[in-house]
């Protein structure tokens, strides 16, 4: 399969497809925390870097099997997500955002000084184990499990916390536990994406996981529509492709990128798919038929 793909698809496009897949995993992880549960996290790249470095160090220095390294990276990220989830019990909105930014910065500075992680130079030469098929296989599993989770007792409880925390408590939802759960699962996905990224690029450095990366992931979730799985996927696709498409405007790339975001947010303040439901589409369609 992989050989077939590399033979018939241009390496450049294949690379973009792989990055889209990794970004979808990142966006779905953050969507769970910020989009669904409503806990504004601006440090998702921090979890990604934990997964990336852990997996990279394990495969390079300990010759661990790739799958084990990926899992270990994701689990360690999940553990840190769990820790970060605890302050959310007391903090909300802007204050929580500050804490998550601070956390991601601490992680970045840590890796900047971390000897086994190559300090500022970073790590290179990871075995390129991440393939197109692997990434998209994981993406499909993640999407399916995400959809299953969000349409369940747990998922509805998470949405309820976003909508009204006091009413959620009064309905018997342990909001504390649920918020920590969202952080843990979301960071697990962040760490998983990090491990995949490290073994695709074969090179990672602390600056890959800076504040801008966190904002980029947050953009995907907000642009696509908070709490919507198709939204996060679409957001990840658009924001991965956009910088590539904008190569034609060369130096003005970032200008256009920012402008695009501003325009989209003016016309779709709830995100592209944030308030789109099958029910509403059906209703509109039905009305047309009658009229």
């Amino acid at each position: 399969m992989e050989a077939f793909l590399t033979q018939y698809i241009d390496a450049y496009y294949l690379r973009i497809f792989v990055l889209i897949g990794i970004n979808i995993i990142l966006a779905l992880g953050l969507n769970l925390i910020t989009g669904v549960t409503g806990q504004l996290s601006m440090g998702h790249a921090g979890f990604m870097s934990i997964g990336a470095y852990t997996a990279a160090i394990l495969t390079m220095q300990y010759q661990a099997p790739f799958w084990a390294a990926l899992l270990a990276g994701a689990l360690l990220a999940a553990f840190f997500g769990f820790l970060i989830g605890i302050p959310t019990l007391r903090l909300e909105g802007d204050y929580l955002a500050m804490v998550t930014i601070g956390f991601a910065e601490i992680i970045r500075v840590f890796f900047l000084n971390f000897e086994p992680g190559g300090k500022a130079v970073g790590l290179y030469g990871m075995p390129p184990n991440t393939t197109f098929v692997l990434v998209w296989g994981i993406v499909i599993v993640v999407i399916l499990l995400n959809a299953k989770l969000l349409d369940s007792r747990t998922g509805r409880a998470l949405y309820a916390i976003r909508e009204n925390e006091i009413a959620a408590e009064a309905s018997g939802i342990d909001t504390t536990r649920m918020k920590v759960l969202a952080f843990t699962v979301g960071s697990f996905l962040g760490g998983l994406a990090g491990g995949l990224y490290a073994h695709y690029m074969s090179y990672i450095a602390p600056q890959d996981f800076g504040f801008m990366k966190s904002i980029e992931i947050l953009n995907m979730v907000v642009l696509g529509g908070m709490g919507s799985i198709p939204g996060s996927i679409l957001g990840a696709v658009i924001l991965t492709i956009a910088p590539e498409m904008l190569r034609i405007v060369a130096d003005y790339r970032l200008l256009f990128y920012g402008g695009l975001l501003v325009i989209l947010m003016i016309f779709r303040p709830n995100g592209l798919l944030g308030d789109v439901r099958i029910y509403d589409i059906k209703k509109r369609w039905f009305k047309k038929e009658v009229g």
Partner: protein, 254 residues
């Protein structure tokens, strides 16, 4: 049989005494009304019963179990459902999902079984759906089950809050100004609804209300609060004729 017993409940907010040693006993199957002017401490009392505030002094017993310092979700799990004075729905969830969230307390399916759709989760989902449909039928919102909650009218939102509270199979239902903002015919429907749910679900109902007519019609026992003190308690007739109540709340007749 007593279902809820408050003894000596006292609450202070920064030196202001909101509630001053309130004693109250609600019996099984009663419709118990709490009235009083604005700021008398009615909602504060609700928030204490449901665990949002921890009282400075006093004890709360529900079915003989101490509720003080128990967090709100645990109180809900014991079977106390409530509505809010300023409506608190899950606005961007559909009407039926609001009710489905309400049944959180009576189900068990956890993260793992939800994630993989294990049999426990699937079995519960079916029951949750059926119950939510029934409750929406009861409050007359079944036709609107797929609307967003914030697209409902004010009266409908109040009824949806009741349906959501009923979803946790409460034995005690607290209604915080259920008739606020309703017109006359909606109020009549509300009274019928409250009677009906009490009969069908064997509920005890504790309600705070401003509408005198509604309280006098509906409640079997009425407690009157003023400045955090309970100044009277009794059936509607007694309350209406109580001098302390007349002077502080109903107003002296000319």
């Amino acid at each position: 049989m007593e279902i809820l017993k408050l003894t000596g409940i006292t609450q202070e907010f920064g030196g202001l005494r909101a509630l001053d040693s309130i004693d109250m006993t609600v019996k099984q199957g009663q419709i118990y009304g709490i009235i009083g002017p604005n700021g008398a401490g009615k909602t504060t009392l609700f928030n204490i019963i449901t665990g949002i505030y921890v009282p400075v002094e006093g004890t709360i017993h529900f079915h003989g179990q101490e509720l003080k310092a128990m967090s709100p979700h645990k109180v809900a799990k014991l079977g106390i459902g409530r509505t809010f004075q300023n409506i608190r729905l899950f606005n961007k969830l559909s009407v039926i999902d609001n009710v489905r969230v309400g049944s959180h307390a009576i189900n068990k399916s956890g993260f793992i079984s939800d994630l993989f759709g294990l049999p426990l989760a699937r079995r519960e989902e079916g029951q949750i759906m059926i119950r939510a449909g029934r409750l929406l039928n009861l409050v007359g919102l079944y036709e609107k089950r797929d609307e967003y909650a914030d697209n409902l009218s004010y009266g409908e939102q109040r009824r949806l809050e009741i349906a959501r509270a009923l979803a946790l199979k409460p034995s005690l239902l607290l209604l915080d100004e259920p008739a606020a903002g309703m017109n006359a015919s909606e109020k009549v429907e509300l009274i019928e609804l409250i009677y009906r749910i009490r009969e069908e679900m064997k509920l005890t109902i504790l309600l705070v209300e401003h509408d005198m007519n509604l309280v006098m019609n509906l409640c079997e026992i009425i407690a009157v609060l003023n400045y955090g003190r309970k100044i009277a308690e009794g059936n509607p007739e007694e309350t209406k004729n109580n001098e302390a109540v007349i002077s502080s709340y109903l107003g002296v007749e000319a």
